[in-house]
């Protein structure tokens, strides 16, 4: 699979098949991803790959926490920028509405929407969850480095026929994550990545995800 096909066929998968992923396959992906670039060769990324018993333990702990609502949230960074304007404000809602429309869940049906959101915390049925953390000393450009590494992982997974969903949602339960997985106190928890074999026929994996036009995001000079 070339890069172009990997980028084009990658989408955030929110329904996975009940089929395990071999550790050897994940090691192959993560080994190659180590070659991702970073400013000053910092390599600021760190991760834990969870499956089986410890993953179930995390699911159970978070499931028991969800009823506490917002009180239990403990994200260590702002997931959304405070003030958004123009296309950014529009986009935030467009993708959510597209997803709920594909699932046939209207805006008023808050209970169903809450259930769909809670699927995040079962990694949408994925057999593997990667938890990403980084030293608190890292500045903004190192977050970009982590993004370069993350996209490398997502694209290499496609090459293995695997699917993924990057999930910042896990950040709201970082305290519970730290109860199950040892993450150093001087590290910040960033996100999860659900990994597995996507159910490519599921409606939630098939709605169109809009993107802004090429010339809206990029200007061209001198060609």
């Amino acid at each position: 699979m070339d890069v172009s096909a990997a980028v084009a066929t990658r989408r955030s998968i929110r329904a996975f098949l009940d089929k395990p992923v071999e550790q050897a396959q994940l090691r192959r992906v993560m080994e190659k991803a180590q070659a991702a670039p970073s400013g000053g060769n910092t390599q600021p990324w760190n991760a834990v790959m969870l499956t089986g018993t410890p993953l179930q333990k995390l699911f159970d702990l978070v499931a028991a926490t969800i009823p506490q609502g917002l009180m239990a949230y403990s994200a260590e960074y702002p997931i959304y920028p405070a003030e958004l304007e123009g296309r950014y404000a529009d986009q935030r809602f467009a993708v959510g509405e597209a997803m709920y429309a594909a699932l046939g869940i209207p805006r008023e049906d808050k209970d169903s929407r809450r259930d769909v959101f809670a699927n995040n915390f079962r990694a949408f049925g994925a057999p593997v969850l990667m938890l990403v953390h980084t030293p608190r000393y890292m500045g903004l450009p190192q977050w970009s480095d982590i993004g370069m590494w993350l996209q490398t992982v997502l694209l290499l997974l496609r090459e293995e026929g695997l699917d993924s969903c990057a999930q910042e949602a896990w950040a709201i339960y970082q305290k519970q994550i730290r109860e199950v997985v040892e993450i150093p106190d001087d590290h910040i928890f960033f996100c999860g990545v659900a990994i597995g074999w996507g159910d490519r026929h599921a409606a939630v994996n098939n709605f169109p995800v809009p993107r802004v036009g090429l010339d809206q995001a990029v200007q061209w000079e001198g060609f």
Binding site: D2, V3, V7, A8, R10, E31, K32, A33, P37, G39, G40, N41, T42, Q43, P44, W45, N46, V48, M49, L50, T51, G52, L55, Y77, P78, I79, P81, E83, Y88, Q91, V95, G96, Y137, M138, G139, L140, P141, W143, S144, G147, M148, W149, L150, T152, L154, L155, L156, E159, A166, E168, P210, R211, L214, A217, V218, Q219, W220, E221, G222, F223
Partner: protein, 225 residues
Amino acid sequence: MTKATTVTEAMLTRRSIRAFSDRPVPLELIRKVMDTARWTPSGCNFQPWEGAVLTGAPLHELQERMRAAAPQDPKEYSWSDPEVLPECLARLHQVGADMYAAMNIERADKAARGDFMAQNLVSFDAPAVLLVYFPRVMGPPQWSDVGMWLQSVMLLLRDEGLDSCPQEFLSIHARLIKDFLGVSDESHIFFCGIAIGYRVEDDPVNQFDRKREELDSKVRFLGFE
């Protein structure tokens, strides 16, 4: 370097290129790359990335202006925060030492090192440069989104036989660049450039060994049989 036919090959053959040939980059190739890169994921589908691709006369004019200007003060952002961590400082020193050794430039030869650093201003003679900026309201997770997009671009360039070098260095002239492009300094932060072109295959600066941490020091596997 031939085109990559797999993601793996793109990863293995991508490296930060610091000597480019003068072979021009066709607009349609870069447009194809940037068009596909739009499918990069981002939290809430914000797609926080914005940029300008420059070549030819406008690029040379910008480079002339940067050459004539002093680095801005204060900095646009800090890129050296990780240096408080000994292991990060060691990695930075190591990559610098390996690069200068490849070029036979001695550690004490500050003039030669300075001349090479100045090559950043002309993006190592790359014929095209992508300049990356985005709204200042974007926080850490959106910087990660921008990074995902940048890596899409760099890997997609390998698909087309093209090479790149990400350059945070250009942020020393962030305000000048934004002014040149007509981008608001008030609303937008300038992040980096990406030099784009074809590598000079046999230049030693494009050939030194790159070092990475062992996988098991970066990724732990729990619960696998």
